[in-house]
């Protein structure tokens, strides 16, 4: 399974803080983004950062592995 986490404004738009998705062999980050953005277009309007296993990533062709933790995040506003 792949664990997808949402926080703050994104969680509010998705209506959930966490989703679990089956990990399909050969699955890439882009496929996960496409799947979720089709289901929750309003939330993806504000997704600016993606982290895989707590490290920010920019390459959406990154292959995903079973047990990965993905976070789809709005711009940060701490401090």
């Amino acid at each position: 399974m792949i664990r997808v986490l949402f926080f703050g404004p994104v969680a509010e738009r998705i209506g959930a803080r966490e989703l679990e998705l089956p990990c399909v062999a050969g699955m890439r980050l882009q496929a996960l983004i496409e799947q979720l953005s089709a289901q929750h277009p309003g939330a993806f309007d504000i997704v600016s950062f993606i982290a895989v296993n707590q490290t920010q990533v920019h390459d959406t062709q990154l292959p995903l592995n079973d047990g990965d933790e993905i976070a789809l995040m709005a711009k940060f506003s701490g401090g």
Partner: protein, 141 residues
């Protein structure tokens, strides 16, 4: 002694953080600090409370990286970063940064760099609670 990088609900003591820094070395010649606190007014509206949410594990890891990078880049002797994640009222403390160096220039530069980078890199979000309703904050440059 508390860890130098923390995310916590409870308030912090600037005196305790500075004392911890000073205890780390007698070579410190200057400590620059930044205290972020909650305003009661934002974007033309009264703000009664600010609620924070964090991706805790990643936020803490990023803050530890920031501290290590600041120490290496500015040749600091030590640095501390504490961010509260809870609901605060106007006037309450939010974030504290202290940078200790042999001389003031490095301490000032590092302190400014750390808070600027924290805002860009650390996954924490704030929601302002106003009499008219609640709104997640859109970051300023």
């Amino acid at each position: 002694m508390n860890k130098p990088v923390r995310i916590q609900q409870e308030d912090f003591s600037q005196d305790a953080e500075i004392a911890a820094l000073k205890a780390s070395s007698l070579r410190i010649g200057g400590i620059a600090t930044f205290l972020g606190c909650a305003r009661d007014f934002s974007e033309g509206r009264d703000v009664s409370e600010i609620s924070f949410e964090a991706y805790g594990s990643m936020a803490l890891a990023e803050m530890n990286k920031l501290r290590a990078e600041a120490i290496a880049t500015f040749k600091l002797i030590d640095a501390r970063i504490v961010h509260r994640v809870t609901t605060v009222q106007a006037g309450d403390n939010i974030v504290f940064i202290a940078a200790a160096a042999e001389h003031r220039a490095a301490a000032f530069d590092a302190c400014r760099w750390i808070i600027d980078e924290l805002k860009q890199r650390v996954p924490i979000w704030k929601k302002e609670i106003t009499p008219q309703g609640e709104a997640w904050v859109t970051p300023h440059p």
